[in-house]
């Protein structure tokens, strides 16, 4: 008897998609080491010039900026998402649970453009925040929040919150509450219980959420482009400019290769840094 019925039927379509994806990634690699011929879409011969050009301050700075923005975004997202995920998994009220779930998950499905646009109205010179601050007499002139990396980070935190809440809530809901009850019966206070039991046990969720937030932010384009307005250069905005304004696809390809390598490296580093903690939590 065939112990693996339909194996070929079930795997081949997925295999075809994988082949297409691999071919696309190889195309990026291939273009990244080709020479750019201005004015055409044709590419020249083999060259390392694209990668060498990235050492120029303009591009090096964009990489540094991007990593910094991603890191700050992930930190703020974690700080804001943790209390929400905690409330979501610990509340006894079904209505409150549903409310928190819908409110925190809906933005995930709104897409980057809608969410970025709404932040443009919040942060603009005639926007909501500035009007509020002026009316309250806290500032005399509108604060410049558009076209700053602070504004970009605020919007990106909003964009990455839902996925972080989902990942933290998944981790928190799988913690055996008996550990906390045992600590409480032994006389530990709520802060001590949280710091020594709940927080370490939720570490896998924190690591997963943090690295996903990092990767998503790295991939974000509409937010830095529209809120940064060209004044906050990130890897994604540079790639778009190079690809569609100057049609320098080889250089755009080499930037996305480095972007990919950098985001994978950071995620691997995060996983490695957290693994002793995860072992402590008894999971792998």
């Amino acid at each position: 008897m065939n112990t693996r019925p339909f194996l070929g039927w079930f795997v081949s379509p997925a295999g075809l998609v994988a082949v297409g994806l691999i071919a696309a990634m190889l195309a990026v690699f291939q273009y990244s080491v080709r020479a750019y011929i201005p004015g055409t879409l044709e590419v020249g011969g083999f060259t390392w010039a694209n990668f060498e050009a990235m050492l120029r301050p303009l591009y090096a700075l964009a990489f540094w900026n991007t990593v910094l923005i991603c890191f700050e975004t992930a930190v703020f997202t974690l700080l804001l998402a943790y209390p929400l995920a905690f409330a979501l998994t610990r509340t006894n009220s079904t209505a409150l649970r549903s409310f928190i779930l819908i409110v925190s998950v809906t933005p995930l499905f709104l897409g980057e453009v809608v969410r970025t646009y709404s932040w443009m109205i919040v942060l603009g010179n005639n926007g909501f925040l500035n009007t509020l601050l002026l009316k309250l007499g806290l500032v005399e002139r509108p604060l410049r929040m558009m076209f700053t990396s602070g504004g970009v980070i605020a919007a990106l935190v909003h964009v990455t919150m839902p996925i972080m809440v989902i990942m933290l809530a998944a981790a928190l809901s799988h913690i055996d509450r008996n550990y906390e009850k045992a600590a409480e019966s032994l006389g530990a206070g709520p802060i001590r219980i949280f710091m020594t039991i709940t927080l370490p046990l939720s570490m896998p969720g924190i690591v997963a959420g943090f690295s996903t937030a990092f990767a998503w932010t790295f991939s974000a384009f509409a937010t830095p482009q529209l809120i940064g307005g060209g004044r906050v250069a990130t890897v994604s905005t540079l790639i778009y400019q190079l690809g569609f304004s100057s049609f320098n696809f080889p250089f755009a390809a080499s930037l996305s290769i480095i972007g990919l390598a950098l985001s994978l490296a950071v995620i691997a580093l995060l996983k490695k840094a957290a693994s002793p903690l995860e072992r402590m939590a008894g999971t792998t």
Binding site: A14, A222, F249
Partner: protein, 271 residues
């Protein structure tokens, strides 16, 4: 149980904190909703006079209508293909060991961490090298690649919760594998497949970065049309469109929550 003052203080400050964070999440939506009804073409707070004209413009602007239908075409094709391909593959990795299993799984899950612009640029370059037209199949392929991990995850979780004794019972009564698949396994997986399709559809309809690279004037989806609009105009039309978007999405999610249990789909329910 008696509560100490510390516990009570923590409890109340926790509530205030959660309320403040929820406010942060809700703020942009509320601000957009208010400005959508602003009568003037310049964004301003609070609006001086009110009107519905931006809603009319959002519906009558040709690029949005075209983007909506393009997006719907891409979404229906991409999420349907992804559900068939992704759940079949999830079934295979859940049940069988085979050559290149982990490799294939890693490749197909990689779009979760590969920046979308890299995927978009790669597919664009591949198309121009092989002479493939920048038509709908190209956009649909890009979307299938990007939603596949979510569909695989959804089916995989359903398979974990599937009681295999039902399949064994069918088998012992003499049912062929094909009959078991269609009368036992697939019917039991329907909720997981449906929620996977819904997830894929919503993500595909909203995908922007990769679509910007692989779509052309003729195939641009709604998010791309919206992006082009913000760059050209500063009036509140997009705010009106955003309000429609938010209302439709929140309604769909509330329905999904009451019928399917959003907590279960997202795996955040306590066990």
């Amino acid at each position: 149980m008696k509560r100490s003052p510390v516990t009570l203080a923590l409890r109340w400050s926790g509530r205030v904190l959660v309320a403040a964070i929820l406010l942060f999440v809700l703020l942009p939506g509320v601000v957009v909703a208010i400005s959508a009804f602003n009568d003037r073409a310049i964004l301003q707070f609070p609006p001086q006079s009110w009107s519905l004209r931006w809603f009319y413009r959002a519906f009558s602007y040709a690029d949005f209508a075209k983007g909506f239908w393009n997006g719907l075409t891409v979404t229906v094709w991409a999420s349907s293909i992804a559900v068939v391909v992704g759940s079949a593959f999830a079934f295979a990795i859940h049940r069988y060991k085979f050559a290149l299993r982990d490799f294939l799984e890693g490749i197909l899950l990689s779009p979760l961490v590969i920046p979308h612009y890299t995927v978009g640029l790669g597919i664009l370059i591949l198309a121009s090298q092989t002479g493939i037209e920048r038509g709908f199949p190209l956009v649909i392929f890009a979307h299938v690649v990007m939603v596949l991990p979510f569909v695989m995850r959804s089916t995989y979780i359903s398979l974990e919760n599937l009681d295999t004794r039902l399949e064994l019972a069918a088998s012992s009564l003499g049912a062929t594998p094909l009959r078991i698949l269609f009368t036992v396994t697939i019917p039991l997986l329907i909720p997981g497949l449906l929620s996977g399709w819904l997830f894929a559809a919503i993500l595909s309809f909203n995908e922007f970065t990769a679509t910007l690279f692989v779509s052309s004037q003729a195939t641009q989806t709604l998010p791309v049309a919206m992006y082009n609009y913000v760059r050209e105009f500063a009036d509140p039309t997009l705010a009106a469109l955003s309000v429609i978007y938010i209302v439709v999405t929140a309604t769909l999610l509330t329905i999904a929550n009451s019928f399917l249990g959003l907590g279960k789909i997202l795996n955040v329910d306590a066990h």
